[in-house]
């Protein structure tokens, strides 16, 4: 078996729900991921993901903050939500549409609402602002998931892929006593004495009784159709 260390990667998308959450609902931007080391589901907060993008740093760079992001609406310090200038890390001024700075403003607005919830008294106003932020997405990439991987070739045993001359050593082969016609539940039986080495439970290579009794020349071995094989009684061929 070939073993090697192999990496695989996954990504996950964090985005606003298609419908605004009810008033006071928290964590609607968060997602749950499976942690292989802890064998548990872990909540990934929008706040942490946003910080991991380093947008708080990049959006203050005069060159980077103008990076085009088609589809991102203009960020305006108006309407519902935390819209004080610069409060909570928001851009100090309005940001034009289709820019990274606007994306960051919307993302920061969602962080606040995700942590505090939409107040019921101003629900309609805040929802109107929320609906303008449905295009704010974050991708989380987990690219270096590493396992020891094993490769093997598995084939159906029996005549189709070559006869096994030694058989399943140490195993027992039996039929169900209640239903003798059922297929064996253990590995197939190898050939017995005076049987063709390649035969198995699907049908013995039998010689006719008169020829065996007369002790004449060795007869040709003939494979009967499987329907001609009577069910074997329940028996144990080999025990440990």
């Amino acid at each position: 078996m070939l073993s090697r260390s192999t990496q695989v990667g996954e990504f996950y998308v964090m985005r606003p729900p298609p419908f605004p959450p009810k008033a006071g609902v928290l964590g609607f931007m968060d997602i749950f991921l499976y942690d292989e080391e802890g064998d548990r589901h872990v909540r990934i907060a929008w706040k942490d993901a946003l910080k991991a993008t380093a947008a708080v740093h990049l959006a203050t760079d005069n060159t980077i903050k103008a990076t085009p992001m088609p589809g991102v609406p203009e960020f305006i310090h108006a309407g519902g939500g935390p819209n004080k200038d610069g409060a909570g890390g928001l851009p100090a001024a309005d940001a034009g549409a289709n820019t990274f700075e606007a994306w960051y403003g919307h993302a920061k607005w969602l962080e606040h609402v995700n942590e505090k919830g939409i107040p019921e008294a101003e629900y309609a106003t805040w929802v109107d602002s929320y609906n303008k932020k449905k295009s704010i997405y974050i991708v989380i990439a987990r690219p270096f998931i590493e396992h020891l991987m094993h490769s093997a070739i598995a084939m159906v045993s029996g005549r189709d892929t070559g006869a096994t001359l030694f058989g399943p050593a140490g195993e027992s082969t039996f039929f169900s006593a209640a239903s003798p016609s059922d297929p064996p539940r253990a590995p197939r039986r190898h050939a017995d004495l005076r049987q063709h080495p390649g035969q198995d439970d699907r049908g013995p290579l039998r010689e006719s009784a008169p020829q065996r009794l007369t002790g004449g020349a060795r007869p040709a071995l003939v494979m009967p159709p499987s329907s001609a094989c009577p069910p074997r009684p329940a028996r144990m061929i080999h025990t440990r």
Binding site: S3, S5, Q7, V8, G9, E10, F11, Y12, V13, M14, P17, P18, F19, P21, K22, F28, I31, F32, L33, Y34, D35, E36, E37, G38, D39, R40, H41, V42, I44, D48, A49, K51, A52, T53, A54, V56, H57, T67, M69, G71, V72, F100, A107, S135, Y137, I138, V139, I140, A141, R142, P143, F144, I145, E146, H147, M149, H150, S151, A152, A154
Partner: protein, 200 residues
């Protein structure tokens, strides 16, 4: 049929960001670059815990139009269906080529993967020569808030890679001697060992 068994978890599957979330400013990116290289080089002690995750802004058009609905590349490595495009560079990176350029200069993404086998990529074999570090990410199973749900407030987004559509806790084999199974359901042989959960 290949890769029919997963023998042992090594690293990279936890839920910690490479970036130090306690830092500020440019230190966020520098900490991410440092810890990512430490992870790929296994620079720390064997019992040291490494980070696993990166985060990027995403263009709404990339997701809504299905451009990255199942695969992204976090390096300059190309996807098979981008090989024949006139300007294929980094279209599958979150945010597009502009953001690949930005993050590459801070995180050194171009050094994660190199030695691209173009012919293998065109044949969708996902085989590369040179670096063994992965750069392709497939959509993984995760749970998102479901505003119309009455009970469980989160719903599964099925995965399209790795182990399959879902990964659930509860399969990690306990340390110490393997207990004798009392039934087929308890048999560890029926589960992927050591924390690698798979639901087919």
């Amino acid at each position: 049929m290949r890769d029919i068994a997963c023998g042992g978890y090594v690293a990279g599957g936890n839920c910690d960001f490479f970036a130090d979330l306690k830092s500020d400013g440019a230190d966020i990116l520098s900490s991410a670059a440092t810890s990512m290289q430490a992870r790929l080089n296994f620079a720390s002690d064997p019992d040291e815990k490494y980070g696993s995750m990166l985060a990027f802004p995403l263009l709404p058009d990339q997701w809504n139009n299905g451009k990255i609905d199942n695969t992204i590349s976090i390096t300059s490595r190309l996807l098979p269906w981008d090989m024949n495009n006139a300007a294929p560079r980094d279209k599958s990176f979150p945010g597009g080529e502009a953001f690949y350029t930005i993050y590459d200069q801070f995180l050194g993404l171009g050094s994660v993967h190199y030695g691209e086998d173009v012919r293998a990529s065109e044949n969708m074999e996902y085989v590369s020569q040179g670096s063994v570090n992965n750069s392709l990410c497939f959509l993984g199973p995760h749970r998102v808030y479901a505003p119309l749900s009455m009970g469980d407030k989160h719903e599964l987004i099925p995965g399209q890679g790795h182990f399959g559509p879902d990964a659930v806790p509860g399969v990690r084999r306990p340390s110490g001697p393997t207990p004798r199974p009392t039934s087929d359901r308890d048999a560890p042989a029926s589960r992927t060992p050591d924390g690698a959960a798979a639901r087919w």
